[in-house]
Symmetry: C2
């Protein structure tokens, strides 16, 4: 695995992520775990969670929401099933680039491969270039890998700038995404048994993520939110997911500013425990951005 | 289009749905618009909304949430963009069946095609039959159509029971889904300019679906929910979606029991208008189930 770090740097922790080398998640691994982190690409999110649960990797970098696409609901579901905790968050700005094999000119390109979400985020580019066909591939960086391996002379791929040098390809057009307000939020996950993170050397705001189910009575969610609001605790996000086995009932995932180390959040969590059927703290971590 | 109804019945309204004939959405069209409805299959949800907006179809039947998979977020986004209203809701129990061309026996089958969500809902079947490979196709009913058109002798498809006779295929195994608590909720949508629905001939509970954005201040969502809770209005569901152009701010979609024709819901909506930046009533309709 040493090829991904320079010889001068001591290899860091192995960090699992979903996708191919050069994926936006790989950029997140460095932001979350340091420049000497060793990114370990895996095909599915489930395998990423398993790699941390079984100790193959020290931690995972997973996307949880994107400002255009919304939440990555599959990862909310995995957070509930695995005994991993959220230790850090980071934001990655999603910049899509048109990438092609060396020697392929823009005029040669008749089709562009990428993940469907990336293709859908570059619609202006395809409108301005009606001779280029959108072609669905399973992964952004994987589409760069594929056009290089296949030696395609008429094809490009849409991926992060980091993907081009990894596969020996070239960037033909930078930043072809429609909307520059395109950010993905990532979590760093570790086993709950792992030692706590080193505290930051400057004062920070903490964020806490919880998941809970409410009693099936009118006003139940409102009362749960009151546990935060009556203590002036700022809620950043709420996400609902279906509760298995109870049709039309929901799990709620909630982010708020605060840490159970401080009285207001600790008391709010105690109050929430009175009003919920199930409550789990998924993690407390320094708020990014 | 008359081939989909018997000659004895007057053809009903054209109802757009996403998928191929035999899709679960087609079952929903009959539940929502009557047995003489003419289901009009279209490839994408966007085309379904457009067909109603431009008058090609009288109405649309769209899935909005499934008890195992969660919300169909794309359709929440379309509800905001199009000037269509929710006129009815219905629940369809999702029963997955193994379907094959006539003459193909269970022992002949080495691969089964279906939509990835349907394949993921029949994992026990694949665990019990390790010689059968899951194969991804774009649509459940479309996979029945494909195995028939290709004349495959080693393949089956997973789809609704309704799909088998439509394509001349046969059901080999009924109800192979893992979890019987598998329901999808569908909406009937019409242009907001269309005349109101005929009221039901018995007293019913009404449900109202709204979408709103909150002011970006602490406790904003809590105060919005108070407009309902303080009037004892029962909230059934809340769903958040990213707000375009404002990273990490959200739209909220909310269902509650009640109709703006009655004072509590009317007053709650007035109260909500004071506290929201944007509020739209997407529809009021008889609550199903």
């Amino acid at each position: 695995m040493k090829e991904t770090v320079t010889d001068a740097v001591e290899p860091g922790p192995r960090i699992a992520f979903q996708g191919e080398l050069g994926a936006f998640s790989q950029i997140a691994t460095y932001q979350l775990a340091g420049d000497n982190a060793i990114p370990v690409p895996l095909p599915t999110f489930h395998q990423v969670f398993e790699a941390v649960a079984n100790g193959t990797c020290a931690a995972a970098a997973i996307p949880i929401e994107n400002t255009l696409h919304g939440s990555i609901h599959e990862n909310y579901d995995h957070l509930l099933k695995f005994d991993l905790g959220i230790r850090a968050e980071t934001f990655v700005r999603i910049v899509h680039n048109l990438i092609a094999p060396p020697g392929v000119r823009f005029a040669d390109i008749t089709r562009v491969f990428s993940h469907p979400v990336a293709l859908a985020q570059c619609l202006h580019f395809f409108e301005e270039n009606p001779g280029i066909r959108k072609t669905i591939h399973y992964d952004t960086a994987g589409s760069v890998k594929m056009i290089m391996e296949e030696g395609l002379k008429d094809a490009g791929a849409i991926a992060s700038a980091a993907a081009a040098p990894i596969y020996g390809a070239e960037i033909l057009k930078k930043s072809i995404e429609d909307d520059r307000q395109n950010f993905t939020r990532f979590f760093l996950l570790r086993p709950n048994s792992a030692p706590p993170e080193t505290p930051p050397d400057r004062p920070v705001k903490y964020k806490t993520t919880i998941v809970f189910t409410v009693k099936n009575v009118p006003g139940a969610l409102f009362r749960c939110l009151s546990a935060l609001a009556l203590r002036d605790i700022d809620m950043n996000k709420i996400e609902s997911r279906p509760l298995r086995g109870k049709p039309w009932e929901y799990l709620f995932y909630l982010d708020f500013i605060g840490s159970p180390d401080e009285a207001p959040a600790r008391n709010a969590l105690g109050h929430l425990r009175e009003m919920t059927d199930m409550l789990r703290v998924l993690g407390t971590y320094p708020a990014a951005g």
